[in-house]
Amino acid sequence: MKYLVCYMTLGYPNSDTFLEFIDKSQNLGCDILEIGIPTNNAKYDGPTIKSSYKKVNKINIENEFKNLSHIIRKPTLALTYLEDHENDLENFLKMMKKYNFAGVLMPDLIIDYIGEYKKYHEFVKRNELNDVIFVSPTVPDKILKEVSEYSDLFLYYGIRPTTGIPIPISPDILVKRVRPLVSNKLIVGFGLSNEDINSVIKAGADGIAIGTAFIKKIDSEGLDSSLNLVKELRGILDET
């Protein structure tokens, strides 16, 4: 079985729709939830997710977490940049723990904090949360292999330089190259098209992460379409 990791920005496009998306997507095939914490500094996110952060920048994070905590039935991760928490990481982790989050995913941990990643990793663990590590194709093989063993639940591999922009790449080549280095589960994300999904799964990925596509569907066609997309993706994964 291949994993479907479903991303949604916290409270997007509004609290109710957000909660409905999270609630229903768990029935339609999402295996893991990934919740984006709004920030002005979304270094590795593309324009769609960035603008979603802007639209919800007035929400009360703790309120949203509380509401969310009642409906989550699948492992749930918070996606947040370490740079935003350098001074309050402990408080943030404690709040996550309190509201039933399974773990945290910090996309800048390995890229911008490579020298201290173990320290932060231990810190997350001490707060009894899973630390899911994010890596990109620019991470050297040796480091990628090492951190993949540290990573909890799975290793998150972002195959494009940013989310949601279909930079032409060769997903199969990228995944085939890292697969033998990773003994952990390997989840692939960042701008995946349907074709990409097929090819990364064939290349040995254990699952995929989708985000921008859900937000675009909500924006253009509404919640139902985005939920249909969850179903559709589940179907694709089950067929491969």
């Binding site: 270094k43 324009p47 940013t162 922009i165 279909p166 032409p168 790449i169 080549i173």
Partner: protein, 397 residues
């Protein structure tokens, strides 16, 4: 690469719109080797690749050093520098997606020369926005690009909104590389053409790696081991293209990147995210940089005035796998003169930086009587810079 957090548009998305798809694919791939398509390979042969690896016997004699010195001579290509290696590849991949016209900017002119000839080889049109002050001071570069069929415009020009706005404010604006690049990108976008990138991006270094791969093979053919590898650094593509194959294959014991003391990026630069280009149109990259707003002094080595160091090279320098050196113009001129008298080849002032480091190293080896082998990349000739050498000699002596 990443986008700035507060950008009003995505630079990464812009790449998507102006670069050939295969170029982007190569930029973001992790393949260790990428096959050169046959048609492109044919063009590499046509321009005289493999370029010669030459024993610098004259320089060895002049220095009376026990070291052996070899140089890979990229100036032997028709356009006189390594730039053609990536210009050809980018033109080819643009043509492959049905584009018949490429656009770029040029400062000193080497890059524009390479692009206009590459376009000519694939029967494509080319448009070059040349910084106005260079356009006026380097007429031969313009003549050469024209002979290759390139359309060369002094930038700021009236071909773009961007240029028109600047000219409205100051009709005598001397131009800058940032302005020329903005014009080129606007022109490419508006006319649905492709924009070619001269350096810094990984993909440019990838294309330049033909230099190092050939050098490795040539050394192997003559049974020679490289101990010390030296190259100059503008954006980093000639140094990277030359040295990475050696570094990756763990051949050699010392790698030296050489910059200009007047553009002190190695000694004074910070390692941080910065725009890859002075116009701020390309994504942010994490590199050693003087800041994309840095205004370089007018040194003769136009190609070394770039504010940063390619991200991969920045890491290698940070990790101490590659050493760096910086020299001032007087030292460079003296090194160039020595080389000219000893080898006959007039080096591009940029490449003379590598020569300066080679001389220093060779004399150091002489002091210790060490018989090591130095290999350096002579990235271009300076025949079109002779008037520069003349002014240099008048200014520096």
């Amino acid at each position: 690469p990443r986008d700035p957090p507060d950008g009003e548009f995505s630079r990464i998305d812009l790449l998507n719109e102006i670069l050939p798809k295969e170029i982007l694919r190569q930029q973001f791939t992790i393949e260790r080797y990428i096959k050169i398509p046959d048609e492109l390979r044919e063009k590499y042969i046509l321009i005289g690749r493999p370029t010669p690896l030459i024993r610098a016997k004259g320089l060895e004699n002049a220095l009376n050093t026990p070291a052996k010195i070899y140089f890979k001579y990229e100036g032997a290509t028709p356009t006189g520098s390594h730039k053609i290696n990536t210009a050809l590849a980018q033109s080819y991949f643009a043509l492959n997606e049905g584009i018949d016209h490429v656009v770029t900017e040029t400062g000193a002119g080497q890059w524009g020369t390479a692009v206009s000839f590459s376009a000519s080889l694939f029967n494509m049109k080319s448009t070059i926005f040349m910084v106005k002050v260079s356009y006026e001071q380097k007429p031969m570069r313009k003549i050469l690009m024209n002979l290759y069929g390139g359309n060369v415009y002094a930038s700021p020009s009236n071909l773009t909104e961007y240029g028109l706005n600047i000219l409205k404010e100051n009709p005598n604006h001397p131009g800058s590389l940032g302005i020329a690049m903005s014009e080129a990108i606007e022109y490419a976008l508006k006319n649905k053409l492709r924009y070619l990138v001269g350096s810094v991006l990984d993909v440019a270094i990838l294309h330049q790696s033909i230099i190092g791969l050939e050098t490795m093979k040539q050394l192997e053919m003559i049974g020679e081991n490289a101990d010390i590898l030296i190259g100059c650094v503008g954006g980093g593509s000639n140094f990277g293209g030359f040295s990475y194959p050696f570094i990756g294959n763990k051949i050699g014991e010392e790698y030296i990147a050489v910059g200009s003391e007047e553009i002190p990026k190695f000694s004074k630069g910070e390692y941080k995210y910065d725009f890859a280009d002075s116009a701020g149109l390309l994504p942010l990259v994490k590199m050693i940089t003087l800041g994309h707003n840095y205004v370089p002094p007018p040194i003769y080595s136009g190609g070394l005035r770039y504010h940063g160091v390619a991200p991969t090279l920045s890491i290698l320098i940070k990790e101490n796998l590659v050493k760096w050196k910086e020299y001032n113009e007087k030292e460079i001129f003296d090194a160039a003169k020595l080389f000219i008298k000893a080898q006959g080849i007039v080096p591009a002032p940029e490449s003379a930086h590598a020569i300066r480091a080679v001389i220093e190293k060779a004399l150091e080896l002489k002091k210790n009587n060490e018989k090591k082998t130095i290999v350096f990349n002579l990235s271009g000739h300076g025949l079109l810079d002779l008037t520069n050498y003349d002014s240099m000699s008048k200014r520096l002596i």
